[in-house]
């Protein structure tokens, strides 16, 4: 249906901080007014809760990783479109060992991570890369805010987590980063997704999202005083400072130019990456109790091909609005 009032949920993470900044500095308002709509931007402390809220229909759009977009809203039957592919994790997620030099040393250890999150996926991919499987370790679910404290306890000897925790943990005595997401580039994507039906009926909303995003990212990536001020503000909002924030950004491959994002989304590479992801999710039973194969939930890729069940496409990568931004047609 057509509507005028939209709600976006975002949570605190390096790649999504522009949303908060945009809301605070009138960028959201500017674009909303341009399209004659209103957009309410809500900050979540709790990432999972923001996705749940979106999945339950309380929000029109949410910031989410590709993996969680598939396992929560898409597997929950909410047809979801990735409006913006903002960045991919290029070192933001890491496997860290205590008293161990290489990934192979992880064998037999308990590993603390947020189960079923991108960390879990990263671990699976890491183990894969050295010919091990999850049977070789013991996974212990640990809440992300407590990772730094947890790492300092004696019984924790291996951990998978993400930034800002990673950068603090690697500085602790005895910590070694043995694998990180830069070794699986493009597999952990940070997206801004929206309800497919909503953007179909209200393309202006998606356009506004793209406008907001690229305005802010351009500002943030600029090597100017304004850019520095923006990064400082985002750092403060995420509980650290400008230096800490820039450190996190360094581990993030940001598609500051919309054309880069379009190129990635329409490349064949995306299909291969998403295939890893959906196999992992199926393996863990996260595609729903009725899923009998990784194909259960269909994924429409940016180049038009469909991965899995074409009759049940619930996650779509749509380059349209990023393309419009690249073309200056917003």
């Amino acid at each position: 249906e057509e509507k005028k009032d939209f709600k976006i949920a975002w949570s605190i993470y390096a790649g999504w901080m522009p949303w908060g900044y945009a809301a605070d500095h009138g960028i959201v308002k500017k674009w909303a007014e341009k399209y004659g709509i209103t957009i309410e931007v809500t900050q979540f402390n709790d990432y999972v809760e923001s996705i749940n809220q979106y999945t339950a229909g309380a929000y029109d759009a949410v910031t989410v990783t590709n993996m969680d977009a598939l396992s929560i809203p898409a597997a929950g039957g909410v047809d979801t479109t990735a409006v913006i592919v903002g960045d991919f994790s290029n070192g933001n997620d890491a496997v860290i060992l205590k008293d161990g030099a290489t990934l192979a040393d992880i064998k037999g250890r308990p590993v603390n991570l947020v189960e079923f999150s991108v960390s879990h996926y990263l671990l699976a991919r890491a183990l894969d890369s050295v010919g091990m499987s999850e049977q070789d370790v013991q996974v212990i679910n640990t809440a992300d805010p407590d990772m730094i404290g947890a790492f300092q306890t004696p019984e924790v000897t291996a951990m998978v987590t993400w930034n800002p925790m990673v950068s603090a943990i690697v500085k602790l005595p005895g910590a070694t980063k043995v694998f990180d997401s830069s070794q699986i580039p493009g597999e952990i994507l940070d997206l801004a997704v929206a309800n497919t039906e909503t953007v179909k009926d209200n393309p202006d909303f998606a356009k506004a999202m793209a406008g907001i995003w690229y305005d802010t990212v351009t500002l943030m990536a600029a090597d100017t005083a304004e850019g520095a001020a923006a990064r400082a503000a985002m750092g403060a909002a995420s509980g650290t400072d400008q230096a800490g924030f820039e450190e996190q950004l360094a581990a993030t491959k940001l598609y500051a130019k919309p054309s880069d994002a379009v190129a990635f989304v329409t490349s064949a590479e995306l299909g291969a990456k998403m295939d890893h992801v959906r196999k992992f999710l199926f393996d863990k039973g996260l595609l729903g109790p009725s899923a009998s194969s990784p194909d259960a939930v269909g994924i429409a890729l940016g180049d038009g091909t469909v991965l899995g069940d074409g009759a049940n496409v619930k996650l779509r990568f749509a380059p349209d609005w990023m393309q419009a931004a690249a073309d200056g047609k917003l």
Binding site: N52, I72, G77, N112, S117, T153, E155
Partner: protein, 270 residues
């Protein structure tokens, strides 16, 4: 007849008591039907059949990954933590509460501390707890103890303090020493209150248990709830919440029965 004197009979009472539960159930069914009509894969309010299937899977079929029956494994893990936590908290509260009530010196030294600690939000101190006690069972039990014990201690000290001064004097005229007053006069009289206090702390104890398990665990009721929250599996969360509630209600009833059996005189005050 005044409403205050209008006592419903047994049947009416039963019907009235069940009505709100029926209403809740109905609201759920309607909500679920509406949402499922809009999106058949909706996860928020699963249909009864989905719930039943999940319950069967959780409570009766072994988990393919570990071979355990999840609900029982989780329940055992959680109840063990709860039992330890509540047991230690009860013992500690009894010892400190008794000392505070009987010994003016202990009261002077400990009661400000207990009053202060009972106001500290324990969840905020979790990181410290972890580092001091590690991520294992100890810190989960410790969270329960820290969350529950100060309140119980204050409650017991108050109960002991509320004993009429005359009873203490009477005991002294019966040649009791401080120690004998503590164990033969004060202790037995606060034990029923201890059980009641424990009952009142069941809710908070479950809360802290869930919070601790949410932070780090590989089994437990709270662990499962927070784990499946990641994919909004309300078909697991609802049965678990209902099960926790049932456990708490059963514990509550059991404790009340225990108090009645152990301390028949405590029922007689009227």
């Amino acid at each position: 007849m005044r409403l205050i004197n209008l006592h419903p009979d047994r049947g009416t009472r039963l019907v009235l008591g069940l009505a709100p539960f029926g209403a809740l159930m109905l609201a759920y069914l309607i909500g679920s039907a509406v949402r499922l009509a809009a999106n058949p894969a909706d996860k928020l309010l699963p249909a009864l059949t989905t719930l039943a299937a999940s319950i069967e899977r959780l409570a009766f079929l072994p988990d393919p990954r570990t071979g355990d029956i999840l609900l029982w494994a989780d329940t055992l893990a959680s109840l063990a933590r709860l039992g330890w936590g509540l047991g230690l908290a009860t013992g500690g509260a009894l010892a400190i509460g008794l000392a505070v009530a009987v010994l003016p010196l202990a009261r002077a030294a400990l009661s400000p501390l207990v009053a202060f600690v009972s106001m500290v939000p324990p969840l905020a101190l979790l990181p410290i707890l972890f580092i001091l006690l590690g991520l294992g069972e100890v810190s989960k039990v410790a969270l329960i103890v820290i969350g529950v014990m100060p309140v119980m201690t204050r409650d017991l000290a108050l109960a002991a303090h509320a004993l009429p001064r005359e009873q203490i004097v009477k005991a002294e005229t019966l040649s009791a020493s401080t120690w004998l007053i503590a164990i033969r006069v004060v202790l037995p009289q606060i034990l029923p209150r201890l059980i009641d206090s424990l009952r009142l702390q069941l809710g908070p104890a479950f809360l802290f248990l869930i919070a601790a398990e949410a932070i780090s665990a590989d089994a437990g009721l709270g662990y499962r709830i927070f784990l499946v929250r990641r994919y909004l599996a309300m078909d697991v969360i609802f049965p678990y919440v209902a099960w926790i509630t049932l456990l708490a209600v059963l514990l509550d009833i059991g404790l009340t029965g225990l108090r009645r059996r152990l301390f028949p005189w405590s029922e007689l005050r009227a």
